[in-house]
């Protein structure tokens, strides 16, 4: 048998030859040093290729793909879609009832208009009452605060100045600590 071609060597290494061809090549290799060197050279290269490490995959790759393939709709959009659907449904029902009844367009619109006016009137009365209640609560709160300030003023005459400074510092430290602990809740709305 003549010396092996490089193509034959590759096919031998990849086990792509028939049993008969393999036997013939192995027989030749056992007697031919130059073909054996050629084989070892290609074998080394192919082994190095197969040992190449896989490329780095980000840990959240699957989540990224899933988010792109199945995008989540924002809650606001879902609400808007829901309201639009409900409104369309109401209009459809209204139209169906209207077509089934003997009512004329003008009388229906007049009755609708009067209902809307009554609703606006009631809403206005309710808003005015709500403003009155809020202003009363605000007045009580101001009276309470002025009482607290006066009490503190009278206490200041009884306590020594050093102790007053100590109390003020203690109050500031406690307030800052409380704000620090609540920061995530205040800024992001997350649970602490």
């Amino acid at each position: 048998m003549s010396c092996l071609s490089v193509e034959e060597i590759y096919l031998y290494l990849e086990d792509e030859l028939s049993a008969e061809e393999r036997t013939s090549i192995e027989k030749h290799l056992s007697a031919c040093e130059s073909c054996t060197i050629l084989l070892e050279d290609r074998k080394g290269m192919m082994q190095a290729v197969q040992d190449l490490p896989p490329l780095d995959m980000p840990a959240d790759f699957t989540e990224q793909v899933m988010a792109k393939v199945f995008p989540r709709r924002s809650p606001v959009k879902i609400w808007i879609a829901g309201l639009a659907t409900a409104f369309s449904l109401m209009m459809f029902i209204f139209l169906a009832i209207f077509l089934q009844s003997d009512l004329s367009f003008s009388s229906t619109f007049v009755s609708l208009n009067s209902s809307l006016w009554a609703f606006v009137k009631n809403l206005s009365v309710f808003t005015i009452k709500l403003i009155k209640i809020v202003s009363v609560i605000f007045g009580i709160l101001i009276q309470f605060l002025s009482f607290v300030v006066k009490t503190l003023g009278s206490l200041a005459t009884l306590i020594r100045p050093e102790f007053q400074i100590f109390l003020i510092l203690l109050t500031i430290i406690l307030s800052l600590s409380a704000l620090y602990m609540m920061r995530r809740k205040i800024w992001t709305g997350d649970k602490i």
Binding site: E40, G44, M45
Partner: protein
């Protein structure tokens, strides 16, 4: 363990978890292929994502008589071909003759020197092979990567490319010898 065809069917029936399993199964092989084709990791990651998005969009066109992996890699291959076309690198046709391979000797005279990979440390060998791979035409590199990194059979590669097995074997052989030549030149 679900096979690919079951997962495709379940995905088409609206099961998101089934598609997630497909992504888990094929993300690494696809990245290994696309990464070697485009040469930049970040771009390769974007392309791999695009392959899955395209796959989901065209999943209804998949026919179970074909192997799912070959169908998936065909999508990936089309994407990389588009990339090379946009880069205006006219090196993707498998029909063109490789002039630099025409003068290759059919029998090489082996030297007694250490083989091309024996001289280097492992890390250096890997770097050199990656660089040598990047230097060969994309059309040959693609077949080489499928055969020796993704470990597809010649029949599977022939199915993806729609070419005879003999042609694929010959092109993979050309790719290997070009890579070896590049390795030798860098020594």
């Amino acid at each position: 363990m679900f096979d690919d065809k079951d997962l495709v069917k379940r995905t088409l029936d609206g099961d998101k978890e089934a598609f997630e399993m497909i992504v888990q199964r094929y993300k690494q092989p696809l990245l290994n292929y696309i990464g070697r084709m485009v040469g930049e990791r970040e771009r390769a990651l974007d392309f791999t994502q695009d392959v899955f998005i395209k796959t989901y969009a065209s999943l209804h066109t998949y026919r179970p008589q074909h192997k799912f992996s070959t169908w998936l890699f065909k999508i990936a291959s089309n994407l990389t071909i588009d990339y090379w076309r946009k880069k205006k690198i006219d090196a993707y046709s498998l029909d063109q003759t490789r002039d630099d391979m025409d003068d290759r000797p059919s029998i090489q005279i082996p030297s007694k020197d250490p083989s091309v990979v024996e001289k280097f440390e492992l890390r250096e060998i890997r770097e050199r092979i990656d660089n040598a791979m990047q230097k060969i035409p994309p059309s040959l590199r693609e077949l080489f990567v499928w055969r020796h990194i993704n470990e597809f059979s010649y029949d599977e590669i022939a199915e993806i490319k729609g070419l005879p097995v003999g042609t694929i074997k010959n092109k993979v052989f050309q790719a290997k010898e070009l890579i070896r030549r590049n390795l030798e030149e860098r020594q």
